[in-house]
């Protein structure tokens, strides 16, 4: 199998962009000023990571598309983001539950990607891993604070975790192309990160006096372009300005 770095890098960019945009939807709406600023900063980190991955994906594709073309001029069916990042922002507890499961995976993922045989992926990972450490800590603290908080906050965190859980399986899935990249030492083996992720889950949930959500449903398909109904409306909003005024400059 020939190794194709474009779809792999594009998927990393799509995950980061879509979740970054979901976080940006909190700007001016978060429950406190501090968290408003925090969520915007988290979103900025993710959008910054997305830009680096899109720029690199554009190099791999080498067909004249730049980061803006990849972010703003592809339709939902062409996106390759996992379903977890597509879900609407929900309430603050849901947002923190999602940030927690996502960052607890991406932190060890970027640690592994730092050792990629493709140096341009490794150098992005070396920056992103440091940012992701703060994302894990921030989200974990909120899972604990809400889980071991009031009756209301606990109820909401339990509901948030239950809602994100079926979509966490896709974090660990790899298609044949990504598997080939993993074998070649270019991509991390997602399945191998399961134990690190489970350990973080166990430690934080114990602290939060919460049960690990029960298994059951598994939602996936984003990598194949099978998306939740939430992605297209989000993209329509995100892409509207760029499409109304193509190639506009500040």
């Amino acid at each position: 199998m020939t190794l194709n770095l474009f779809p792999f890098t594009l998927a990393l960019a799509d995950d980061a962009l879509v979740l970054g945009h979901r976080l940006s939807e909190w700007s001016s709406r978060a429950p406190s000023l501090e968290e408003d600023i925090a969520l915007s900063n988290l979103g900025l980190d993710l959008i910054g990571q997305a830009r680096l991955f899109y720029q690199l994906a554009a190099q791999f594709e080498d067909r004249g598309r730049n980061e803006d073309k990849l972010a703003y001029f592809r339709d939902a069916g062409e996106f390759r983001c996992i379903q977890l990042v597509q879900l609407p922002r929900g309430d603050f507890a849901f947002t923190m539950a999602r940030q927690f499961v996502y960052a607890a995976f991406m932190h060890p993922y970027f640690e592994a990607l730092q050792r990629s045989k493709e140096p341009r992926l490794a150098e992005i990972a070396a920056k992103a891993v440091k940012e992701m450490a703060y994302h894990v800590r921030h989200a974990a603290e909120w899972v604990i604070r809400l889980g071991d908080g009031t009756e209301e906050s606990r109820r909401r965190m339990i509901a948030g975790l239950a809602e994100v859980w079926p979509s966490t399986h896709e974090l660990f899935e790899m298609d044949a192309a990504e598997q080939a990249l993993a074998t070649a030492g270019v991509a991390p083996d997602r399945a191998a990160l399961r134990s690190a992720w489970e350990a973080t889950m166990a430690r934080v949930l114990r602290e939060a006096t919460l049960e690990r959500p029960a298994g059951g449903a598994k939602h996936s398909g984003g990598r194949q372009g099978n998306h939740t109904p939430h992605l297209a409306p989000m993209l329509a909003d995100m892409q509207s300005l760029a499409r109304t005024m193509p190639d506009a400059r500040w």
């Binding site: 980190d45 920056k127 800590r137």
Partner: protein
Amino acid sequence: MKNPTRTGEPGAAPSEPLLGTPVAHPQPAPARGGSPSRNATLARAIEIAATVPDPEIPAVTIADLGILRGVTLDGGSIVVQLTPTYTGCPAVLAIELAVEAALREAGFADVRIERVLSPAWSTDEITPAGREKLREYGIAPPVRRGTKGARLFASETVACPRCGSTHTSRISEFGSTACKALWRCEACREPFDYFKCL
């Protein structure tokens, strides 16, 4: 792309690391086979680039922060290498434009800015002078090695930049910019920014 001499590394300055010290009198790397006039040109370019202030924390220069990775002469072009702090930092473009503008204003017509990611920037690269300027400005400098930045359940002991007390607490992990957290001094009751380890 040529591999420009990184200031502060062996083979760069004859004596001490250029960007690890106050940059009032920078000493350029003598270009191999470079003429005295080329060396003087480079020295001037370095001085101008190094003294560009950070747009969000104007008390420190980009050299103080360690984000100026190198200034070299490539033919007739001044090549400035900059590295971002956080990947999404909105100041990255502003800093690049400011460096370019400062050099053009000083008469350098041909300026090229290169963005380098590797090695990833760390708060360890903030110079001792930069740390002191941050403190004077009211921002507590990073307390630890960047590699030990955010550990789950870890807590830092951060000294208040105003009264020096370590009886302080974190209000929020994310402050007014990506690089800062919001803290409060329990002794003097003042809130303050903390420059997070990265």
